[in-house]
């Protein structure tokens, strides 16, 4: 099983680096469009940690990537505020596309993560947040 860990300081400018790194690693076993979606999910998770768990405190984000065949797991660890129950419930994204004032300007991140990844598991452990997401990457044809 190939394994790599990433660590970034929780600044938004570092998120693209992890995202691109993860995308490329996935590309070795799946289509470019699947890899792009995994990058998107990883970016949303990092953005959430920076904006919500750390707010303005800029702690570290540790990411453990494991690739076993085409089975991908990504574990995100931070030492920010814990995730509220509301953020752990299955996310909704309901809106009327024609009702302009009602359109969501945010609140799409969790929905995307849930939609893109096969599973997601959150744990609070020793003042750390550990979020593990998995996806079966289909093999490149």
């Amino acid at each position: 099983m190939a394994t790599i860990q990433f660590r970034i300081k929780g600044h938004l400018e570092n998120v693209a680096l992890v995202g691109q790194a993860i995308n490329t690693i996935c590309t070795s076993v799946c289509s470019a469009s699947t890899a792009y979606q995994v990058e998107l999910a990883a970016v949303e998770i990092c953005n959430n940690i920076i904006e919500h768990a750390y707010s303005k405190s800029y702690g570290n984000i540790d990411i453990l990537l494991k690739l076993e065949g085409t089975e991908l797991s990504l574990q995100f660890t931070d030492s920010g505020a814990s995730m509220p129950e509301t953020a752990q419930a299955p996310p909704q994204l309901d809106f009327d596309p024609l009702n302009r004032p009602d359109l969501p300007e945010g609140g799409m991140g969790l929905y995307l993560i849930e939609t893109i990844m096969d599973s997601s598991d959150y744990q609070r452990l020793e003042n750390k947040n550990i979020l593990t997401v998995r996806k079966q990457l289909r093999t490149r044809q």
Partner: protein, 113 residues
């Protein structure tokens, strides 16, 4: 340095997003630049995303904000969305909110009509 480049064509303002990632890092500034343009009286806008390779939900949210700032006063349509970026519009169903055109010309024409 500005995140957007603009030029006017007929009554339409063409706004090109310059960075290749429209993400949380720049979403707030992008929203500010766009809001200023709208408040300056530009109410029919083509947003050209042909240079954008990656968009996250903050970037998409910022585009939605533009639409809401325009309100009933005007419209914003989008051109040049790449395949990967399109994924985002489809996953969030924002492809039903925005009119998406392959070229700037087609987009501008839809607004002039």
């Amino acid at each position: 340095m500005s995140l957007i480049q603009t030029h006017a064509a007929a009554n339409v303002l063409i706004v090109k997003v310059v960075p290749n990632r429209l993400d949380a890092k720049i979403a707030v500034n992008f929203k500010e630049e766009m809001t200023k343009l709208i408040q300056d009286g530009n109410h029919t806008i083509v947003l050209d995303l042909s240079g954008v390779d990656f968009i996250d939900s903050s970037g998409l949210g910022a585009i939605v904000t533009c639409l809401k700032v325009l309100g009933r006063k005007g419209d914003l349509v989008i051109s040049g969305v790449k395949n990967d970026v399109m994924t985002m519009f489809v996953l969030t169903r924002m492809d039903r909110v925005f009119q998406l055109f392959p070229t700037i010309e087609a987009a501008a024409q839809s607004l002039a009509a």
